[in-house]
Symmetry: C2
Subunit: 657 residues, 2 copies
Amino acid sequence: MASSTQEGTGTAYRQPVIDVAELRRLLDGRYAEVRDLVRTNLAEHAAVLEEAETLSQGEFRERVKDLLVTMAGTGQTGMGFPQEYGGGGDLGASIAAFETLAYGDLSVLVKVGVQFGLFGGAILMLGSKRHHDAYLAHLITGRLLGCFAMTESGHGSNVQALGTVATYDASTDEFVITTPDETSRKDYIGGAGQHAQVAVVFAQLEVHGEGHGVHAFVVPIRRDGSLLPGVRAEDDGLKMGLNGVDNGRLWFDGVRIPRNNLLNRFADVTDDGRYVSSIDNPDKRFFTMLGTLVQGRVCVGGAGINAAKVALTLAVRYAVRRRQFNATSQDEEELLLDYGLHQRRLFPLLAESYALHFAQEQLALKTHDVFSVRTADDEDETARRELESRAAGTKALGTWHATRTIQECREACGGAGYLAANRFTALKADTDVFTTFEGDNHVLLQLVAKGLLTNYASDFEDLDQLGMVRFVAGMALETVIERTAAHKLFEAIKDVLPGGDDEWDQEAGLLDPNYQLAMLRFREEHTLSGVARRLKRGIDEGLNPGEVFSRAQDHVIAAARAHVERLVLEAFVAKAADLPDGDLKVALNLLCDLHALSTIERDRAWFMEHGRLRASRSKAITREINDLCRRIRPLAVDLVDAYGVPPALLRSPDLLT
Amino acid sequence: MASSTQEGTGTAYRQPVIDVAELRRLLDGRYAEVRDLVRTNLAEHAAVLEEAETLSQGEFRERVKDLLVTMAGTGQTGMGFPQEYGGGGDLGASIAAFETLAYGDLSVLVKVGVQFGLFGGAILMLGSKRHHDAYLAHLITGRLLGCFAMTESGHGSNVQALGTVATYDASTDEFVITTPDETSRKDYIGGAGQHAQVAVVFAQLEVHGEGHGVHAFVVPIRRDGSLLPGVRAEDDGLKMGLNGVDNGRLWFDGVRIPRNNLLNRFADVTDDGRYVSSIDNPDKRFFTMLGTLVQGRVCVGGAGINAAKVALTLAVRYAVRRRQFNATSQDEEELLLDYGLHQRRLFPLLAESYALHFAQEQLALKTHDVFSVRTADDEDETARRELESRAAGTKALGTWHATRTIQECREACGGAGYLAANRFTALKADTDVFTTFEGDNHVLLQLVAKGLLTNYASDFEDLDQLGMVRFVAGMALETVIERTAAHKLFEAIKDVLPGGDDEWDQEAGLLDPNYQLAMLRFREEHTLSGVARRLKRGIDEGLNPGEVFSRAQDHVIAAARAHVERLVLEAFVAKAADLPDGDLKVALNLLCDLHALSTIERDRAWFMEHGRLRASRSKAITREINDLCRRIRPLAVDLVDAYGVPPALLRSPDLLT
């Protein structure tokens, strides 16, 4: 129905034809080979998807652990470690491999993430050569299994406030690790329930009665499957999903470890029992240490985006097979995908998956670059803070995208989507916690906003919410606005639009990417300076800074989201612009337009409230989106096929055959 | 924090104090006793919530079946059946009992719904005395277990198109039931997998080669646990949730049943083999038969609303216990519920749960009234169609509310929300299919729109989508607009607002319920006439009616949603207005205002696009919502406690203690 009536804007419009292999190469990018290795491994072990349902929890955990070791044997999980220890020496490859794992069973993904990302990453990034020598080779092969004991029951996203204590005992040259109360038990720790032999434990370091803040320690917790003295563990039990991962709780009762077990890249206790650190400011030290672990967030965001692709593949393919109700013909029922509403439900999400994919690609390459030039003393602080902010923002948007997309796709597959064999069961249950782990999404967006409001000023990274409010309130408004990069970007772009300073938003064509970007940049700049204004006004009115923050909090989140959405659109526009002329470019431009206009449409109330969208133009955007959906309709199957989800991983006999 | 600063609108404002018992009585309404009976039963068997996790699927199914029989023994499941067969003779009580069951394990709820609502309801509503005598007493006690074989793999929401055939064989005076192809296998049928001895099968009736459309037949399928000859069954296997219900597929290969097994309230085959019916028009007959089963939708909507209350209870109670980050004080971390964003996330959903509760109460009482005056020949057709429409719309909004609310509450409980012991696992997985079963929500909203566009004209209930488009296109626009009840309602209300015809929306106070209702009524009327206009224009331009429908489909859905949202707000406003002056009224008015303004805010782009909201007023609504959230903050715990979810059903050691 859709393809038969291509009226609408341009008369010269010709429906593009997508070369799926070419598009897949574009999506796979620099690490196509790594991605294919993972695809092959996943397809070979596709049975695990069914075993997640048929095995007992205990059996399934063993299966997942064994698969981790098997995958490690192919090299795919060690890409990010130095070659001298058996790794691949390529962080970017490691991120690509992890993202691709999200096409398969997500317990395997998370188990791999815990072992090689969290545990291995902490040893690599926070430790020094002696730790690398002692652990890396063993952990890369999976002979040594570890866990990452950061989160506590009462201190989820507020890591700086955690309660576990590591006291230096000079008499024995050891640290004594203790859990002081129930809110400080380590919780939800993947691997702690059963398999981990070693934990990297985050604890408040105390030396001679003086506190130095959170540091990381290597603590052996099990030998031959039995807990070591002073360590108590409890299984977290059944979870909503990810039941192949043995999450658990840990308590430490005066557990003694040698002084050398402090991961001492940024701080140490010397032979003569003095605390030393290359970073004087304790808050800065804390954030620097945490900053080295940013790949975790990069990886989770990418995994969310790829899990959503599996759902989109299923929903789109089902919708070109399943018919329901007579619509255009009395003889044959209509394909679901030929309904305007069905297109409206799926295609903006499809477009968003592409936009997020390209934003994630940029982020992963940037992460690779920042960490591949590892010169601890000579780092570009601002670049690191920007990377962390970008990782936080992309993780939040990518994982919310996953939750929303998987839900919409399940509903779009009706009752069949509810059967476990059709994959949505696991996709939904397993990804649900992505919005929470590696940082609660709302907390992460606050982090983004803080960076924007303080322009990543390295002196101010220690600011908590109260501090940030006071800091902003103390600045001149102009300074805040001047500091935001968005301002300059917007100035640059609106020069190329017709209509001058005041009318650029009314004269430009809706499909002009400069217009689309200018809209998102205007929103970002305006929201951000609005937040600054509100914070300032609140303080001026004598309100408690905490209350000022609480009242402006939705505004803070909106500013951060506006920022990240702008970055995501920029990534998509840049990718499409880079392509040589041809059908692929035409197709991606359709998708990019759909993404841009959907983003504007979703927030069109804001644009109208702020004088940047007239009612008639707002309605025109809605019409344009419907037109774009009709044009994308004939391309939809190719667009999801290009994700390259191996057929063996789709299962879904009721949806696809 | 919130309660300490009650600035804002009126100066005479005094924080109300809620009497939880009084509010609970208000919520429980006419059927408080029935609800308490179910609460007591649920609490007594609360262990089933844990057994859902610890038992094998097979064991859990048996447990759920046994519980069904146990509950039946208390009378709570038979409230809707005639007293002469051992029932309670009160349909309203039966709905109230079912709704309350949603506080507990939802496999039990659905198993009960299948047996007493779908199977028992079909026997009661579609059968005649001989069927009642044969089956009711047995099914009310649970001695006879049945299933409801309507849905087919290839014909989900399009029941009229189903493929199973029932051919009358005059030579033996039997019907022969046959599954002609794989798309016509019965699928997702609760009870078909294992326990059902009898099925009510919906099939295309053919008599002497002539088709008479879909009719329902009683077909024995198992004896002593073994399938009867010609019946094939397959288990649907593991599902996302509801795994205590044995869903399955059924195929019939020439299964013979006596002529008397046709449920013959509306149509019959006579002794001499003639087809007769009191309703001549086959489409009207079909919709009349289906219409008698409307309680199913009423019940599912109510169950969704109550399941969401469990999630809200957990999230609100967790948020007054859990602290995170320093905000107002350096010494103590802030309670989650004192964060503005947290209030923003939870309170509009809390307000919506109240609004939907009262709308559901109205719907249930109306259902009771319509069906308690059972005079088949003298029914008020329009009242029935309106009831069906209202049931469809409330089911759609109530179940989407459940999906959204449970997800938001899970995220608001962080990692702890992910542990199965904390109930969100089951709540999410079990309710997920509510948006699909008893009619896909989008299909239901189309049904609502069709009723509005045709003013429930009884001659036109046979219209499919194509027919509806043609019908509307053939009417004068004025007629469509005139026909919609919304128009008159809106005219009536805006007279009481200041500002006259043009300015009523700018002069009235935001907290004036007349203003709020006028806004929703204006939107409903405008959207609806807009749809009519679009359909008409499409046909005038010579487009295929199916394509016209497809293109306007999002608009059709929006019109239906606008209608249902108006009804929901009206129910809440009416309930609050009826209360005597006092604290409870003040509290409910806060909540009602929050619900009304949240509804307007969510669609404020539309109101701006249509000239009914200026930018400044739109921003004022957002500010007002934030104010209302702060005022509701001190009431929040009482508001969820008044739901009366028995503590034994909350579980959640990590959230509540």
